[in-house]
Symmetry: C2
Subunit: 493 residues, 2 copies
């Protein structure tokens, strides 16, 4: 039943049903797509470009992901089609996002039932199949993954390694590619992608089919509304009355437009993403804000300060909260903290940006593990947010004492005009050294502190007077011991 | 490298690191515990009792879960220590919660690094080890799971099957139980549990050690505050100033007290849960509400109506939202919908209860898959919630026209006094037939409809007058075509 390694101790096995079960952690389809983007982005692949497309192959709707990164050999392909084999490491300033060895499986199996992976490097070409339909058709009790490597057999001639003949048979029978020629032509596409980038021929091409459909047979993506985008259709809350209500203003475009999501997926861009033929224009969130300030916060458990940027969203005041990145990758978007969680209209319209490399993302990379560290960060982000919000209101009041307009209602222009055209995928726009800079001057906080001290002094003076006059306005002082020592201190001055 | 089945096609493999990766879907530790509770609850095990304890074994902190359900043989144990092998089916009115074949792995590996499972049924006794420390110690490249079955060898004498000797060696070396006697004594505990329930000797005992600790070495659970509970400590948002601030009122006890969570985990109780020696008192959420009404809703995609219960939370007006169950198991608690999501204080304090068997829970069973069906349900729950809220306010106004007190501020007494003592774990309190009953009479909605019709009639009458008198109060009618046909219609009557 199980492979006898370590004497006769059984292996933990994988049932085909697990492929679906594992994919259910992606409740939002872009979360699944992001896993495939991360794989191309990560330093072990280090693609310069990633093309995402919707194609029909043999009349079947497919999603395709093609990169011109390092490519895989047979062993790497087997690891990719297995679980938990991740040995990704950062290279220079380029940290690895992947850490669980699960993204490809959970991501691809969330988007469709079947996936085929073509990969090419200097040593050869390898194709692998992860297919629920195939496993179902052969009545597999365990997840088997046909993998075939082709080696050069003469000028421009490739042939499958003889020991992979059963895998080849399975792929030709159970994928969209019924002949060796059809399989080889997909490797040709990788060549073209590499050539376009002026690179040596390597890369990976993933094709997903039997794409998920909703209960009524509709595709889960809308490929029509924008021919250069992949969108999540808005028919979500009308119950049969499609088209009668519009998407609420509080829904940020990144939630339904893949193009918008990809534009902010990485804090500092390293790779160009091309969706349906059009380049994604990288957007630095911080450059789209008004009244931008930089604050910092030093968690006790870290002993190092973290930079927080706050500003007002100039695009929609209804989209606000903290954008939380982890090793350059967006994990939580519009996470409301502190006063934003309460029904008091405080800090509405304010966006925060923070990179939390010390937290651990969860299984689907859409949240952080619920640790004390995470809770502390959220709490303290709330404190910093309130300080920022009070500061901006205070300044506004100082500049224009009679204004009753809220900041969020008037700002339409970001502090910095940012040309959002893609510039360079290798050099981060602004090399940032967190902790090197000073947080902004908190005028309001200082004023409040001063006020309180003044009030305290006033109370003390009244209290001293009271001892002689018993003024009815005196603040009652309960701890007489404390008071006396204070008075003693005052007298000494 | 991989087991050659189906000719020579490789198996997808499991790396030991995957055990941790897979467990990260449980961001909240009670979500992991719930998986272990579900396993005992489900019809294939069908335990009458489940004991949850905190124990020190050989000076090591352990969480233990023991049930007196069906128990497992060697093959079932191997499935439990593998991934995706779920063939659970409902029995009678008792539906299976488990569906992914992953709960034990993701749950136990979230709580600690190592787990040992003792199980007993009429055929024998089997012990299995799922241990990250063991796999690390032997430098395993794949997840191996030592499993040993003991067979009766004479009166009260059991011996391990010879073919499991390597597994036995691994368990004695790498678990908390260093001798065969120590292992056998844990099966004895299962006997005692079964005997207490007057049942034949079967059941399962799970012991988890190397429990998770936070960055500063603290246990993630608080076993001290309440000796009969397992709590999540509150030091989450003070950043070093522990003890200075209190848990906010808006945090429901189920979020930090395992006892409170277990009391509402199942809509209809089937199994008794005993936490640290004290029985959990089942609480029917619906019985703790004031102004309770039953509404219903028929989703277009379902063609069957679903019951929704609404009422005011009498315990804390700051804890509100929809309690969403799936096949009797709580999935989403306090899910805010519709007007509760907006900063307008509408429907604050209102609780809803719904059972959505047609939705699909996600990987960690703490949310539903983000489908169109789920979005429609949430939208329509919002509509029904608003109707309820308006109805209650309308009734209140009718009864007491001068009152300005909000309903949420005054209700402290539930409609039904519910004796929360555990009664029977086999018979649901009220056999419910969704769709058999009528929704409540929506007086406010009817009044509003009547008002609108009256206004429409008034406008029409004014408009007719206007044609003769050109009254300045007439509502301007833009689409004259429409108007004329309306008038024609009126004249015909």
């Amino acid at each position: 039943m199980a492979e006898p390694i370590s004497g006769s101790i059984p292996l933990s096995a994988l049932n085909p049903q697990y492929l679906h079960a594992n994919s259910t952690s992606h409740t939002w389809p872009f979360s699944a797509i992001a896993e495939l983007i991360d794989n191309a982005y990560d330093p072990d692949v280090n693609a310069k470009q990633l093309w995402i497309d919707w194609k029909r192959i043999n009349d079947v709707d497919c999603l395709t992901f093609m990169d011109n990164g390092a490519g895989m050999d047979n062993e790497k392909m087997h690891q990719m089609l297995s679980f938990g084999f991740s040995n990704k490491q950062g290279v220079g300033g380029h940290a690895a996002v992947g850490l669980y060895g699960n993204g490809f499986k959970s991501g691809s199996m969330r988007l469709g039932k079947d996936t085929i992976v073509f990969s090419k490097n200097q040593d050869g070409m390898t194709v692998g199949l992860l297919s629920q339909s195939y496993l179902q058709a052969i009545g597999a009790r365990y997840v088997v993954v046909p993998i075939v490597t082709f080696k050069k057999d003469g000028e421009d001639k490739f042939s499958a390694m003889p020991e992979h003949s059963n895998s080849l048979k399975a792929i030709l029978e159970h994928s969209l590619f019924g002949t060796v020629e059809a399989v080889l032509s997909e490797f040709k596409a990788i060549d073209d992608g590499s050539a376009a980038a002026g690179q040596s021929c390597s890369g990976t091409r993933i094709i997903i089919w039997n794409l998920r459909r909703s209960g009524d047979g509709q595709m889960e993506f809308d490929f029509e509304t924008d021919k250069n985008d992949i969108q999540i259709p808005f028919n979500d809350c009308t119950d049969g009355r499609e088209g009668t209500s519009a998407r609420p203003k509080s829904v940020p475009p990144m939630q339904y437009s893949l193009r918008a999501y990809c534009s902010i997926l990485y804090l500092r861009p390293w790779m160009q993403i091309i969706i349906r033929g059009a380049k994604v224009k990288t957007q630095l969130v911080s450059k789209s804000l008004a009244h931008t300030i930089t604050d910092q916060y030093t968690p006790q458990f870290l002993k190092q300060s973290i930079r927080i940027i706050f500003g007002y969203n100039t695009k929609s005041k209804e989209q606000y909260g903290i954008m939380m990145y982890h090793k350059n990758r967006l994990i939580r978007a519009y996470q409301r903290v502190g006063c934003q969680l309460k029904a008091n209209a405080m800090a509405v319209g304010v966006i925060g940006i923070i990179e939390c490399d010390f937290l651990k993302p969860t299984h689907n990379k859409q949240d952080f593990d619920d640790t004390e560290e995470y809770r502390k960060i959220k709490y303290n982000l709330g404190v910093k947010l309130k300080e920022y919000w009070e500061e901006i209101r205070y300044k506004r009041k100082a500049e224009n004492p009679n204004s009753t307009t809220e900041v969020k209602d008037i700002e339409k222009t970001p502090d910095q005009q940012w040309d959002s055209e893609y510039r360079s995928c290798r050099v981060p726009e602004e090399p940032e050294e967190p902790g090197q800079e000073q947080p902004y001057e908190k005028t309001f906080k200082k004023q409040e502190k001063k006020k309180k001290e003044q009030q305290k002094r006033n109370r003390q003076m009244i209290s001293e007077d009271t001892e002689q006059s018993q003024s009815p306005f005196a603040t009652p002082v309960k701890e007489s011991g404390t008071r006396q020592s204070t008075r003693a201190g005052l007298r000494r001055t």
